[in-house]
C-alpha cells in the first residue's frame, strides 16, 4: 500500500490540466511564519505546525512557482509575516515513523506533500499532512499522539532557519510561467 497516494496525482481543484502538477522530489517548499506562529528564536518547533497536518492541509508554498508578489497577495494577505523557513521536498518525504504493532515494528511514511490548490489559493500552493498509516488500525490514541509529536519534531528540524522574506531569492514572474507542469524547467 502506498501511504501517500495523493502525491501521485494532482490535487488542484480544477483538475489535472491546471496548476503546476504534482510536487516533485527535487522541489523546495516554504513555510510562512507569522507573528502568531510558535517558534523558538530563528527556528521552527513542533508547535509551529498545526492540526491541519491531520487532513493534509498544512499550507506550503512551492519555491519554484511563488513569486514575492504572489506570496504577499495570496499567502500573507493582511497578516504580519515574520519570515519563511524552507525545506527540500525529498528530505521531508524520506522521513519515516515507526509504528509498533504487537510483536513487530512497521516503518511508514511520516509526511506527505501534495499540490493541493483550493479556490483562493495561489497556483504554487502545496500542502502537507501525516501519512495515513501513522493512525492505522490497532494503534491507540495515545500512541498516535506520540508518533505524530515525534514527526512534528523531526519536521521542525527539516526546515531551515527562519529568514526575513526579503532575504529569500524569489523566482521571477517570467521564470514561473516557463516552468508550467515541469516542462521547460529552468
Amino acid at each position: 500500500m502506498n501511504d501517500c497516494e495523493d502525491e501521485q496525482r494532482t490535487c488542484h481543484y480544477r483538475g489535472k490540466w491546471f496548476g503546476f502538477g504534482t510536487v516533485r522530489d527535487s522541489e523546495h517548499v516554504l513555510f510562512a511564519v507569522f507573528q502568531d506562529t510558535p517558534h523558538a528564536e530563528s527556528s521552527l518547533t513542533e508547535k509551529s505546525f498545526t492540526s491541519n497536518l491531520i487532513n493534509t492541509s498544512e499550507s506550503l508554498a512551492r519555491v519554484s512557482y511563488v513569486t514575492s508578489s504572489v506570496f504577499d497577495r495570496c499567502i500573507v494577505r493582511d497578516r504580519n509575516v515574520l519570515g519563511i523557513a524552507s525545506a527540500h521536498v525529498s528530505s521531508i518525504r524520506m522521513r519515516r515513523a515507526d509504528i509498533k504493532l504487537n510483536a513487530i515494528t512497521k516503518k511508514v511514511r511520516a509526511i506527505c506533500i501534495v499540490d493541493q490548490v483550493v479556490p483562493g489559493d495561489c497556483e504554487g500552493h502545496a500542502a502537507m499532512g501525516y501519512g495515513e498509516e501513522t493512525a492505522g488500525q490497532g494503534i491507540s490514541e495515545a500512541q498516535i499522539g506520540k508518533i505524530r509529536k515525534n514527526i512534528r519534531m523531526d519536521l521542525a528540524n527539516e526546515f531551515s532557519a527562519i529568514i526575513p522574506t526579503e532575504q529569500h531569492q524569489w523566482p521571477w514572474h517570467v521564470g514561473v510561467l516557463a516552468r508550467v507542469d515541469g516542462y521547460g524547467e529552468i
Partner: protein
C-alpha cells in the same frame, strides 16, 4: 516578589483550602504560576474533567513547576484537555522522581501531548507523555530521527541507561 503580589496571592491561596499547605514557604514567581495551575487542575478534577488531584508532594522540582506553568498557558483543544492534564500529571511525577538535568523545551501541543525535549545541533532526546502512564523516549542523532526509534517506559520505572547517556552527552 512585591508585597502587593504576595498579599494578592496569599488572599487567593487562603480562599482555597486545597492550597493552604504552601503558605508557610517562601514563594517564587514560578511557584505562584504553579499554584494557579494546581488550583486549575484541582478545579478540573472537581468538575469531573479529570479524575485525580495532584498531591502536594508532587510539587518538588523546578522542572515540575515549569511544566505546570506550561499547562497553564498552553492552548489545548477542548476535546484534548483531559489528555493534557493527564500528560502533565505523568510528566510531573516522572521529573520529580528521576531528577533530570539541563533545561529542556517543554512542548505541550493542542492535542494534549507533552514533550520534554533536549536538543543540541544534530543530537536530541525527548520524553513524551500522553497521559497513559507511559513515557516514550525518542532519540535524534545523525541518521536517526525522533519518529524512527523509541522506548516506552512506565512513569514509575527508572529511565534506561541509553536515555541517561544521551542526555549526559548533550549536557557536557
Amino acid at each position: 516578589m512585591s508585597s502587593t503580589t504576595r498579599t494578592t496571592f496569599l488572599a487567593m491561596a487562603a480562599a482555597s483550602a486545597s492550597v493552604i499547605f504552601v503558605l508557610s514557604v517562601d514563594l517564587s514567581e514560578t511557584q505562584i504560576l504553579y499554584m494557579v495551575s494546581y488550583q486549575a487542575l484541582v478545579k478540573d478534577s472537581v468538575s469531573g474533567t479529570r479524575n485525580y488531584i495532584i498531591k502536594p508532594s508532587v510539587i518538588a522540582s523546578r522542572l515540575a513547576e515549569l511544566i505546570a506553568a506550561e499547562r497553564l498557558i498552553a492552548k489545548i483543544d477542548k476535546v484534548n484537555v483531559a489528555i493534557a492534564d493527564a500528560a502533565t500529571h505523568d510528566a510531573m511525577i516522572m521529573v520529580r522522581r528521576v531528577k533530570l538535568g539541563g533545561t529542556p523545551h517543554i512542548l505541550l501541543s493542542d492535542d494534549g501531548i507533552l514533550a520534554l525535549q533536549w536538543q543540541r545541533g544534530e543530537y536530541g532526546v525527548a520524553l513524551l507523555f500522553a497521559g497513559d502512564g507511559v513515557a516514550s523516549i525518542s532519540f535524534r542523532r545523525p541518521g536517526q530521527f525522533y519518529a524512527e526509534n523509541g522506548i516506552d517506559v512506565p512513569i514509575y520505572d527508572d529511565l534506561p541507561a541509553s536515555f541517561n547517556e544521551a542526555l549526559a552527552a548533550m549536557l557536557v
